[in-house]
């Protein structure tokens, strides 16, 4: 019986197919149910296999539930297991039918075969039907006291399952206390391990709400329990050892003798064949010695060899998991790994994610003695392997150069990169040379000679182009044809898609102008004209600013664009040390791989109803240049307000006063803006569906007020909406939706998230009175659902607004 692979390609479980087969199955099962003829079990087995295989590929076979239950009266253990699996899968959605299974499961819980008892108990716990928990308590209690360790082991996890279905039932039956008793007394190590896992999870979740639970959780890491577990460590399975070691790493021994005792006891774990045990031990050692600097260093030395072995053995995925940890340690103490740099060389066939980590580590461990070798190796990658790695390695070379070991030679190499004449190499190198010049202006002479030879036509990437333009402006006096190169670039203004490049172009041409006025004047004129006509707000503003600055006073303008600069000594670190310590504390978990502490990626799930005020708090912090949040790009302050609060009329007027030779485009824009304004009165180009409610196109609300209001107001509407498939497709970033909603005069105040989950906060104002609507919108693109919460100053209007909001949302992506 092979699952019918070829016929079932239905990618989504929501599209049931094979209806005919299912009813066939139902018939056949019914016939077999009562039969006691020999060979019945074999035909049952075939049918059960079919059912399970349909279930696996996502066909809904819940309709045969009662037949399956009827057939389950059997002594064949494989049949039983298939039946349990089936019941566990569908009981949740058929609670009434699940009741039918209770009977035979309870009977099996009393079977003389411990195997059957264990299986039945495990399945009973997996039913996950809240109103059946009463039937679970009895068998669980018996199971915990069972004479057979297999049953006790299952029962221990069963308690945890019960806790997740109904915590109160679990506490009422006093199961946690029983678990604790078993933890300390059971002769079987796996039972002990399962009790430990269950108790950790239960107390961990309860700790925030109950003081007693918090005490119990602390008790788990008390000296007697820790010592009891450590003394039995060798009895545990490798997986259970990981659990125990993790627990011990939370224990803080009162004196250093104890620390050494524990480390001596566990040192042999570093030689365990299971990498997970080795990593858990490493974490424990690192945590234990945190306060003892010397010993901590020795621990680093001791764990180096096992870590490097783990890296070089196993699949790339495993080695990636270990490398991430090595990466963390290398970043914390690069000098300790300086002599091991050769282990970090990349192999040709390694996947990108492994190579990238290795490159970062190579960069970090570079010092006076090994820079030459490392840079030679990096140059090899830049020339030889795939493009993303080539880029990364050039960046790595640059980073090493910025650390100022042997800069001279490295600069030479970077300049050699430019001679390779590969677009991506040139692009990366340009960015680096720019950073180098900011730090070591004294190198400008050598660099400029080479940079001057690069034709801007060969540079396409915005970042590289911007870097090149910056250098053209900054070193205009040294580069002969700087003004002409800039002029050429300005001629192509219309084709330049990146605002970043256009911004740099404006600044560069200004700088150039002050150094070589006669040659640049023409270019400056056309740049400013083009800038003023630019559709991008920032570019427009900068052009305007320069224009007025020049009008006001030439020498002031010069001092603004060409101030005396100090060489940059240190480039901003991307992560605060606090965060790094947090990650280190969470060693041996996902945090290390994601390189962020766990609250950043799990909290949203565990906080339940979204802690809104905190999030907005973060938002305002984000504005205050708290790098943490800014880096995360979790929340982006939308530019809505800024754009809207700038009165369009004044803009238009300014444009007119500025320049008589203004290109026609500016006029067009001006007229456009007037038309927009007209539309703002209600005749929107995309008419609002609800004519009853009109919104203010230029609503303004500052984050603090929003936050206050959100806290004060009750939720007036909360509903599920859906997004069209086109909308889902367009929802690559929250910004897309933000722009879309703005057309409907619904403004975004904060947005964040990554596919498939986005979270956005909107606000809107009534057109005629200052009455606000606040919206929290959570979008899941994988389910195409949007969860919307609306709060309103005027609750009576919230229904109308909700309709308007939903219809606006449903149009998303249609344009």
């Amino acid at each position: 019986m092979v699952p019918p692979a070829q016929s079932q390609r239905s990618p989504s479980p929501s599209q049931p197919s094979g209806k005919g087969e299912v009813s066939d199955l139902k018939m056949q099962l019914r016939q077999l149910a009562g039969s006691r003829a020999p060979g019945t079990d074999d035909s049952k087995r075939d049918l059960f296999k079919k059912v399970i295989s349909y279930m696996t590929i996502g066909i809904d076979v819940s309709s045969v539930f009662s037949e399956m239950v009827m057939c389950s009266a059997t002594s064949d253990i494989v049949l039983k297991k298939m039946c349990y699996l089936y019941v566990g899968n569908y009981a949740k959605y058929n609670p009434d039918l699940a009741l039918l299974t209770i009977n035979f499961l309870q009977r099996d819980c009393k079977d003389e075969d411990p195997m059957i008892r264990g299986l039945a108990l495990r399945s009973l716990g997996s039913l996950r039907v809240p109103n059946l928990v009463e039937y679970l308590v009895g068998p669980l209690g018996a199971g915990l006291k069972d004479g057979n360790s297999y049953v006790r082991m299952v029962a221990a996890v069963g308690v945890l399952k019960l806790y997740h279905i109904s915590a109160s039932t679990c506490f009422d039956a006093d199961f946690p206390a029983l678990l604790k008793h078993l933890l300390l007394n059971d002769p079987d190590a796996q039972v002990v391990a399962n009790c430990l896992s269950a108790l950790q999870e239960i107390w961990g979740q309860e700790a925030s709400s109950s003081e007693e639970a918090a005490r119990e959780r602390e008790a788990l890491i008390s000296k007697p329990i820790i010592y009891y577990l450590l003394n039995r460590i060798k009895e545990f399975s490798e997986w259970a050892q990981c659990t125990v070691l993790e627990l011990v790493s939370k224990y803080a021994p009162p004196d250093s003798n104890e620390i050494f005792d524990i480390m001596n006891l566990l040192e042999d774990r570093l030689q365990h064949a299971n990498g997970a045990v080795v990593l858990a031990t490493i974490k424990l050692f690192l945590q234990l010695t945190l306060s003892m600097t010397d010993v901590h260093q020795q621990v680093y030395e001791r764990i180096k060899a096992p870590l490097l072995t783990l890296v070089s053995s196993g699949s790339p995925e495993q080695s990636y998991a270990v490398l991430s940890h090595l990466h963390l340690l290398v970043m914390r103490a690069p000098m300790l790994f300086a002599s091991d740099y050769k282990h970090l060389y990349c192999q040709y066939n390694e996947p990108f994610y492994v190579k990238k980590l290795k490159l970062e580590m190579l960069t970090a461990v570079a010092n006076e003695s090994n820079t030459y070798e490392i840079v030679t190796e990096l140059c090899e990658y830049a020339a030889n392997v795939d493009i993303p790695i080539a880029r990364e390695s050039i960046r790595a070379v640059g980073k090493i150069a910025l650390e100022q070991y042997d800069v001279n030679a490295i600069v030479d190499r970077l300049l050699q990169f430019l001679e390779m004449e590969k677009d991506y190499v040139t692009a990366e190198t340009l960015v680096l040379v720019k950073d180098l010049l900011r730090k070591y202006p004294q190198w400008s002479h050598d660099c400029i000679a080479v940079i001057g030879n690069i034709s801007s036509n060969n540079v396409q990437e915005p970042k590289a182009k911007a870097a090149l333009i910056w250098m053209l402006g900054e070193y205009a006096q040294d580069m002969q044809d700087a003004p002409y190169a800039l002029e050429g670039l300005i001629d192509d203004w219309e084709d330049e898609t990146s605002p970043e490049v256009r911004l740099h172009l404006l600044t560069a041409v200004m700088k150039c102008f002050f150094r070589r006025p006669p040659e640049t004047q023409k270019a400056l004129g056309s740049a400013l004209a083009a800038g003023l006509a630019d559709m991008h707000q920032d570019v427009h503003d900068r052009a305007l600013f320069y224009y007025r600055l020049l009008q006001h006073n030439i020498s002031v303008a010069n001092s603004v664009v060409n101030p005396t600069k100090q060489a940059v000594s240190v480039f901003a670190d991307t992560q605060s040390s606090e965060i790094k310590d947090r990650i280190f504390d969470e060693f041996n978990s996902l945090s290390v791989l994601y390189q962020k502490p766990c609250y950043m990626f799990t909290d949203k799930e565990h906080q339940g109803p979204f802690a809104f005020s905190e999030e907005l708090g973060n938002l305002s912090i984000g504005v205050d240049d708290q790098r943490v949040e800014a880096n995360e790009e979790d929340l982006l302050l939308s530019t809505t307000r800024k754009e809207d609060s700038l009165p369009q009329q004044t803009q238009g007027a300014l444009l007119v006063s500025l320049d008589q030779n203004e290109p026609a485009a500016a006029h067009a824009q001006q007229t456009n803006s007037v038309i927009d304004d007209l539309f703002g009165l209600g005749l929107s180009s995309s008419p609002s569906p609800s004519s009853l409610l009109k919104l203010n196109a230029k609503a303004v609300l500052d984050p603090t007020t929003f936050q206050q209001k959100w806290r004060q107001l009750p939720v007036s509407t909360s509903q599920e909406g859906s997004i069209s498939p086109q909308g889902v497709a367009a929802m690559t970033t929250p910004q897309a939706l933000v722009r879309h909603m703005q057309v409907h005069y619904i403004h975004c105040i904060a947005s964040g998230g990554q596919a498939p989950n986005f979270k956005l906060f909107f606000f809107a104002q009534k057109a005629d009175e200052p009455s606000n609507f606040l919206v929290e919108c959570i979008i899941n693109t994988s389910t195409s659902k949007a969860h919307i919460k609306i709060k309103a100053d005027d609750e009576s209007a919230s229904q109308a607004f909700s309709a308007l909001f939903q219809s606006a949302l449903s149009k998303f992506g249609m344009a």
Partner: protein, 438 residues
Amino acid sequence: MPVSASAIYFLNLRGDVLINRLYRDDVGGNMVDAFRLHIMQTKELGTCPVRQIGGCSFFYMRISNVYIVIVVSSNANVACAFKFVVEAVNLFKSYFGGAFDEDAIRNNFVLIYELLDEIMDFGYPQNLSPEILKLYITQEGVRSPFSSKPTDKPVPNATLQVTGAVGWRREGLVYKKNEVFLDIVESVNLLMSSKGSVLRCDVTGKILMKCFLSGMPDLKLGLNDKIGLEKEAEIKSRPTKSGKTIELDDVTFHQCVNLTRFNSEKTVSFVPPDGEFELMKYRITEGVNLPFRVLPTIKELGRTRMEVNVKVKSVFGAKMFALGVVIKVPVPKQTAKTSVQVTSGRAKYNASMDCLMWKIRKFPGQTESTLSAEVELISTIAEKKSWTRPPIQMEFQVPMFTASGLRVRFLKVWEKSGYNTVEWVRYITKAGAYEIRC
């Protein structure tokens, strides 16, 4: 918490679900869809084996033509999860008796569900040891041996062993002929610069064992590693015998090895599992004997011609020989025509891999062999980009040779019944990533 997996999925390369086991309710049912949509159907697939989608993290691994995906919603232990997958696959393999691929899964899916049920409960790994699981999960599906029904082979104490202390060996084994097979398998990793200097070189070795021994034997293995020998000399208070000693950088052992005794006495002593297992793994970076030297010269003559010369020297003992030697010499994509001459073996241009594939079935020690080829290229317009030269890669196996020089000095078997055992020891060195830049 070590793993706490919420679900495990097995998918084929098209994204069809082969196995789907939910352990916890904290992730939605559409996780497979999310995986397909955001990982399989995008370029993400090759970029990182750990990905976060929504509130869940996905760990995935490709094994032959199957993806195994673990979904977690908490801050899980990734290394543990991957190790679990690897171990689970080994377990499945030992049940199927061989390959783990889509067909094997389809043919054994009921068994896999049974095993998944046993090896993980509510997301926590349980017992994964094949020796024990095979006691009570049998493909025959008869009632387990400790039921009241009389069966042919009663194993009275199975549940005790399911969770017991010597979890890797059951009692009461009897063999007519007591045999032990020891395989020392080393793979040499090399990265050599075009100028012939060794950039990086190490050996990862493992000792594989096959035991067919009765009862509960105690084994003791002696190697010529430096620490072990010194320790021995110290104990017996006599000078270390002259001869080569090996310095192991790092060793890991199978769980059966008594690590305390290894640390104190530096001897490897253990009660072995029955059948085949990996006794230890080690890594060596110092004093590696490279079995082959490769000297390439590649000249690009203008835009459309290349001259390739590769000389390969075997530097192991003259009485030994290497088998299955394959040398892949890279050539540019736009290769049009090649003419290759070799002094031994056969060489052919392989267009799909862009290389000259040079195969030598048997390569005796202390000899050398050369390949010389002329490569004609299609001239391309405006392609100024010079060819990025991938390294020359090499595969080989050298029996009876260890690149590290490791030797087994003794293997003692002690059992209370005092039977005689036959011990077999083999050595083999294979190429790991053996790369020479050119």
